[in-house]
């Protein structure tokens, strides 16, 4: 230590004064929230979006949910055949797909297990409600979130590109 010893009390005063000057000249580290917003990262788990057409009511997400916050009901329907002349297919059509965000703990297991790519994460976060019951998002509301779902991010160098979806 070649530097002369400064009493710790004055060093501490220096730190706070330095920060004062830095905030005054370079701006603060905070954001004035309602006026400007931070963009969350692409992967941020904000809200779950539902692509209704892909869902087959297979119940995998509802079963894998750790706190049982997904409710699914459906019915069977006849859909036009894939090839001309084929028999009409029987498909499962959703009647109800609710996620209770008051219970959801944002673990993402449902999105991960979905075998038909019907669930996606969107980084949107502004959906707080004054009434807790309004946090139960139904099919249409979950479908609206689809517009906000971003593309998956590029991976870091050295990653195994042919990996997952």
């Amino acid at each position: 230590m070649a530097k002369p010893k400064v009493p710790g009390l004055f060093k501490g005063l220096g730190v706070t004064f330095g920060t004062l000057m830095r905030t005054a000249t370079e701006g603060s580290n905070t954001i004035q929230y309602p006026h400007e917003k931070e963009t969350p990262p692409i992967r941020a788990r904000g809200v779950i979006a539902l692509h209704e057409g892909n869902c087959t009511s297979c119940m995998l997400c509802a079963r894998s949910c750790p706190d049982w916050c997904i409710y699914i009901e459906g019915h069977k329907e006849l859909a036009p055949p894939r090839r001309a002349g084929g028999a009409p297919r029987k498909v499962n059509k959703l009647d109800r797909f609710d996620i209770d965000y008051a219970l959801c703990m944002y673990c993402g297991i449902c999105v991960e297990v979905c075998p038909f790519d019907a669930l996606f994460w969107s980084p949107e976060y502004e959906y707080s409600e004054p009434r807790i019951a309004d946090l139960l998002h139904d099919m249409t509301k979950l479908g609206e979130w689809m517009e906000t779902v971003p593309e998956a991010p590029e991976l870091e160098a050295g990653a195994d590109k042919k990996g997952k979806k």
Partner: protein
């Protein structure tokens, strides 16, 4: 003793070459350690198990529980890691993941103990470690119908809270424990939550949402209504 142990550490764990491990010497290390433990404990050890490159288990008789702690401490296992209980009864309630309209499935209720076996439904498991070498030993002990065992408080001071927790969660008593009040639960709470026959109400009061609820086409049979 500290210096001895730390020298041992330097010999066994050269920091730079930890990634080039070879299986054999480590096994010898645990085997030797186990021989030392069983030698010191003598007849108290009912069963022992060394898993190569993994861990050590011993099961001791209930009346030798306190002396086991004392002996292990004198063997250098001065770090108290944890103490808890295990209820080996398979849960009579399952995971709550069944259709309430179906009849309750038959459940296997045979008690099947884990490593080093056992004879009773409840076991107490404790783990102590040798600092620096990071060798640890898991000690199990059977709890008979008296549901009590000697306390380790006087051996490892840290066992105090762990025993209190085990007492309230499993109902296992600890003779000689200074103060077995409940830690978490209200003092008039009835039942022992971590016993398997204590139902987890959250999974019982709410119906499982995983039941397939897809209405079949009007013309279809009931059997075909199952989800694909």
């Amino acid at each position: 003793m500290w210096s001895m142990v730390s020298r041992l550490k330097r010999e066994v764990f050269p920091l730079s070459s930890t990634d080039t491990t070879t299986e054999a010497p480590r096994d010898e290390r645990r085997d030797a350690e186990m021989a030392r433990i069983t030698g010191a404990l003598g007849a108290a050890v009912l069963d022992s198990l060394v898993k190569a490159n993994d861990d050590m288990w011993i099961r001791v008789s209930a009346d030798a529980w306190r002396t086991t702690g004392e002996t292990l401490k004198s063997l250098g296992y001065s770090y108290f890691c944890f103490l808890s209980g295990i209820d080996w009864l398979p849960s009579p309630f399952g995971k709550g993941e069944e259709d309430p309209t179906e009849p309750t499935p038959e459940r296997d209720s045979t008690i099947k103990q884990g490593y080093t076996g056992g004879a009773t439904r409840f076991q107490v498991i404790a783990r102590v470690m040798q600092p620096f070498t990071s060798l640890g030993v898991n000690i199990k002990v059977d709890i008979d119908d008296s549901m009590a065992i000697d306390s380790w408080c006087s051996v490892y001071a840290g066992a105090n809270w762990h025993e209190r927790e085990t007492h309230e969660m499993f109902g296992i008593g600890f003779n000689g424990h200074p103060d077995l009040r409940n830690m978490y639960l209200p003092s008039d709470f009835e039942g022992f939550p971590l016993r398997k026959d204590f139902p987890l109400l959250a999974r019982i009061v709410k119906p499982w949402p995983g039941i397939v609820d897809v209405e079949p086409l009007p013309g279809d049979d009931e059997q075909e209504g199952e989800a694909s």
